[in-house]
């Protein structure tokens, strides 16, 4: 146990807040029992914050639901014990269980919008908790208001009278947290509480949780797939893999010096420390998570582990106690030396020549949607250039217009009048139906969600073959040859050709989508969050693939992502969008190093980093305003922490070059924008 928390020490003798012993949980699916948790054991000490990480499907939520005894109907605890504050949860009767839930344990989960009852006012929902403790209605309401105030809701009385859908996602999650903490629980379970929220909102919510953790002496079980978030929030971490705890230890130690090949691999997948594509490829973890209920002899991870040998495959490793930490690897000492799964040599960098004519150029690109009688100004006056072979990263909060921009370029939606899109200097018609086959061919896209992007009724062969036939006009006889060339280029085994998307993993699907996008030899590929639906291990492989393809085929990318780390890794230049406006545009390194636009700065500081350093810098207050009525002047003034004064409200600042090729839309002088403090992410990193 890490005795770092000051509120902990004196209770050391008391039982752990949560103790899980040899927990086996299985789901029954169509008559088959699928075991998803295997002999899971861990403890959360009093006042401790324990993080549980793992890729999607490894059983994190199942742990959480088992603790509160709310498994799905088909789920069952088959063995093991769950002790909450020393009491065996699984042995409790209905009434006791209810009492326990009402007093000792609470839970906050993903998607706060759905966690709140849509037809009850917020106040009533929060007050309910107090009513349950026997308080009269009036008092309960008062307490509820007080509780809302504690989660930093500015105007509790007005929020109490609203319905959940009238609150933003961040507010909703605050309300959920308020309800959870209202009982002053011994244990608070947070199951991906910030997944799905924007980075800026996530940072706020995480700050709040960190603060409240100090106020309420609550133990926390924090579940996330995001290593950085865990690093920021937790004292100790358990790494879950296929329902098994494969490594456990203090946060710092574990992330700095992982002792299980899986943890090592996960950490290597992330584009960390300012790593960029020309620094070399990201490492990946080959293979896939075993499906739930799979019969595994030996080490579960052996299949994907470069260290694994016959012994690993035959003998299941115990959880080796490494003194204050543990690893379920026979060769835990050697774990950090895990050979790379992917050679790190960077693809030959392409020299981008910005003297020549840009391959794509937009001028005053704007889009106004009509939604329910309102004009939604999704995008205004975007002027951009994209040169051959380069990657333009596009970042911004949700709703800032990234996807709109992508779709405008592709012609899937028509730009407002006066907008200009030029391809190789020639004007590009706004609508795809009016573009020539060559123009259509030149711009392709890789979508965020491959499930949506691939027609589930068609085979891989048809999916790519049709693109070849239509775009590349490959005559039928040569098609198979070309097809194989493509699938091999995206490293898709030939046997997948006859398969339909649903039989492929997320990563493989995205490869198919990429192959399809490249089938017509496009000049420009728009990547709209191509990895955000994927697990980190797969994300790395896709990023590598994109970088390789760019190097060999000299395509240009417009790369959209929420994840600044990813954008930084892949992009040559970065454009920052806010409320449909271009706020900043410049070479990736300069945008990260600064000077930045206050908005960019806020985005950067919202990113939690793996080293767990708490970035107490700029937090954006409030929500992104509605695109129906954008604020006057500088659209960012309503949330800007460095607002100058009325000039910001009245005048839209121009896009001014702060340095060569780096423009910022702000009234503040460029040199004033340069802050002394170091950027949240170290600018330069040693190539590993």
């Amino acid at each position: 146990m890490t005795p770092t928390a000051p509120w902990q020490g004196e209770m050391a003798s008391a039982p752990d807040a949560l103790s899980i012993r040899d927990l086996d949980v299985a789901y029954r699916v169509r008559g088959k029992v699928r075991q998803v948790l295997r002999g899971l054991s861990f403890q959360v000490g009093r006042g401790e914050s324990y993080g549980l990480v793992g890729e999607s499907g490894c059983g994190k939520s199942t742990v959480a639901l088992a603790i509160v005894r709310y498994l799905a109907r088909n789920g069952r605890v088959r063995a093991g014990r769950i002790l909450l504050d020393g009491r065996d949860l699984l042995a409790l009767g209905e009434a006791d269980l209810r009492k326990l839930r009402a007093t000792a344990v609470s839970m906050v989960y993903q998607d706060p919008g759905r966690a709140l009852n849509p037809s009850l006012r917020v106040g009533a929902q929060v007050a309910e908790v107090f009513r349950l403790q026997g308080m009269p209605q009036a008092e309960a309401l008062d307490r509820a208001a007080a509780m809302l105030a504690r989660v930093q809701i500015a105007d509790p009385s007005s929020v109490m009278g609203r319905y959940p859908h009238q609150l933003s996602g961040g507010m909703q999650q605050r309300v959920a947290i308020a309800m959870a903490l209202a009982i002053n629980p011994k244990l608070l379970i947070l199951d991906e509480p910030t997944t799905g929220l924007d980075a800026t909102v996530e940072a706020e919510v995480l700050d709040l949780i960190a603060r409240l953790r100090g106020e309420f002496a609550t133990s926390i079980l924090f579940i996330s797939h995001n290593l950085a978030v865990i690093a920021r929030m937790c004292d100790r971490v358990g790494v879950l893999y296929a329902g098994l705890l494969v490594e456990e230890g203090g946060t710092r130690e574990l992330f700095d010096n992982p002792r299980h090949p899986y943890t090592v691999g996960l950490l290597r997948c992330l584009p960390r420390r300012g790593r960029r594509k020309d620094h070399g490829r990201l490492d990946t973890i080959p293979g896939l998570l075993p499906p739930p209920g799979a019969d595994i002899a030996g080490c579960v991870f052996a299949e994907r582990c470069a260290h694994a040998d016959e012994y690993c495959r035959a003998v299941e490793p115990p959880l080796y106690d490494l003194g204050g930490r543990a690893s379920r690897c026979h060769y835990h000492e050697r774990a950090p030396d895990l050979p790379r799964a992917t050679p790190s040599d960077p693809a030959a960098p392409i020299a981008v020549d910005r003297e020549e004519r840009p391959v794509l150029r937009t001028q005053r690109l704007a889009k106004t949607f009509a939604a329910g009688g309102h004009a939604v100004h999704a995008l205004s006056a975007i002027s951009l250039e994209l040169w051959s072979g380069e990657t333009l990263g596009l970042v911004g909060e949700s709703g800032s217009g990234k996807t709109t921009l992508a779709r405008l370029l592709l012609g899937l939606i028509e730009a407002d009048g006066g907008s200009v899109i030029e391809l190789d200097g020639g004007q590009l018609p706004a609508a795809i139906d009016r573009r020539t086959p060559d123009q259509v061919k030149a711009l392709q896209i890789v979508f965020q969600n491959p499930d949506s992007a691939l027609n589930r009724s068609h085979t891989v062969r048809h999916l790519i073959g049709r693109a070849l036939a239509k775009l590349a006009r490959v005559p039928a006889p040569q098609q198979l040859e070309r097809l194989l060339a493509f699938t091999r280029a995206v490293r898709l085994a030939d046997r997948y050709l006859a398969v339909r998307p649903r039989q492929l993993s997320g990563g493989l699907k995205q490869r198919v989508a990429i192959a399809r996008a490249f089938a017509g030899e496009p000049r420009i590929v728009v990547c709209d969050e191509p990895t955000s639906a994927l697990d980190v291990s797969v994300q790395a492989a896709i990023l590598n693939l994109l970088a390789d393809l760019q190097a060999t085929r000299r395509v240009s990318y417009v790369f959209i992502s929420h994840d600044l780390g990813t954008v930084r890794y892949i992009s040559d230049r970065i454009a920052v969008l806010y409320l449909g406006r271009l706020m900043e545009l410049g070479p990736a390194e300069q945008v990260f190093r600064g000077p930045h636009h206050p908005y960019t700065e806020a985005l950067l500081s919202a990113v939690p980093s793996l080293d767990g350093s708490v970035t107490e810098r700029i937090r954006l207050k409030g929500d992104i305003p509605s695109a129906i009525r954008p604020p006057s002047g500088c659209v960012f003034h309503t949330r800007c922490p460095r607002k100058l004064g009325s000039i910001c409200e009245d005048q839209e600042p121009p896009l001014i070059e702060a340095e060569a090729g780096h423009a910022i839309r702000c009234h503040i002088q460029a040199r004033d924008l340069q802050r002394e403090r170091p950027a949240p992410m170290p600018a330069e990193a040693p190539a590993s």
Binding site: V68, T103, S119, E128, H165, S168, A176
Partner: protein
């Protein structure tokens, strides 16, 4: 955009719908009867009489003129003259509608609470035998045509047990209770058909609400099951059921045709049926359009009710 503000638009759309409906009905009724007079007077009537009648009825005028005269009168409550009854139609429609509403009311009063109860019970036992039983029985009841269930019910209650009258027409001096007594048997086939629909909806809504995250929140708060059910589950679960019930009003009228014929009840259904049999097109048109209006009004009312009860819709999505 809030739905309450959208009501005028919704109303306008309903009006357009009704207008299209009136055109369809009119065209439908004009499609065949090449010779209305002949249809009325019968095959053996004298041609002179037929020509006279056609002129008198105005069916020898251009279609557009006929449509306009029909619909403009209809809008003022004048539904025209029945071909066969040679009398204004409106009073017939009014009486028939009143009768049908009585019958429908009895069926609804019986079915709504029971079906919702059944659906909720099934949902609470989802996957268990009780759920299967309620679901399969409900489904079976729903899909068996009214005349089939009606016959069987007549056989059982009217003929073998002799406990319920098999003819819906109560004696002239019957009080409300006696009327209900006479309407019990006819309302049963309607009950059966509606039961399945409503129970199914209630079940689906409840199952969904039971699985919803907000229910999880409520349970994990430690609320007693009863509170969870009433405050959190049913409140959300039964909202869609309202709409279903409203659309069933329209369906019900279709069922009324058969039930009213079977039980010799003088409602809107049998009025339409008789008009259809005797090719009394003005009455048929008026009856059908009336049904359309009722349906449209019922769904409109349900929409408004739903949006008034549902804060999501009433207050609009998050700003």
């Amino acid at each position: 955009m809030s739905t309450l503000r959208a009501i005028p638009r919704r109303l306008l759309l309903s009006l357009i719908t009704l207008w299209i409906l009136s055109v369809i009905v009119f065209i439908g009724a004009q499609l065949l009867p090449g010779d209305v007079g002949r249809a009325i007077l019968g095959p053996l009537a004298d041609p002179r009489a037929v020509a006279n009648l056609n002129h008198e009825l105005g069916v020898d005028r251009p279609l557009l003129v006929q449509y306009w005269s029909w619909i403009s009168h209809f809008a003022t409550g004048d539904m025209g003259m029945s071909y066969t009854m040679r009398a204004p139609i409106a009073p017939f429609i009014a009486t028939a509608l009143g009768n049908s509403l009585k019958l429908a009311a009895v069926a609804f009063v019986l079915v709504v609470p029971l079906a919702i109860f059944g659906g909720v019970i099934a949902a609470l036992n989802v996957g268990r035998p009780l759920d299967r039983i309620i679901t399969v029985l409900g489904l079976s009841a729903t899909v068996v045509p009214e005349f089939v269930s009606g016959i069987v019910l007549i056989l059982i209650f009217g003929v073998w047990l002799r406990v319920l009258p098999i003819n819906a027409n109560w004696p002239p001096d019957a009080g409300p209770l006696t009327q209900v007594y006479y309407l019990l048997l006819p309302s049963l086939p309607l009950f059966l058909v509606l039961f399945g629909y409503i129970a199914r909806m209630a079940r689906a809504g409840t199952v969904e609400a039971l699985d919803a995250d907000y229910t999880r929140t409520a349970v994990l708060k430690g609320l007693p099951p009863r509170t969870v059910l009433w405050r959190h589950v049913l409140r959300n679960a039964l909202l869609p059921t309202i709409t279903v019930i409203a659309t069933q009003v329209g369906y019900l009228i279709g069922g009324l045709v058969v039930v009213e014929v079977l039980f010799h009840y003088q409602g809107i259904g049998s009025l339409i049926y008789v008009a259809a049999r005797s090719k009394d097109f003005p009455t048929l048109e008026a009856g059908v359009l009336t049904v359309g209006i009722i349906y449209t009004v019922a769904t409109l009312a349900a929409d408004v009710l739903t949006s008034m009860l549902n804060p999501r819709v009433r207050l609009g999505a998050a700003a």
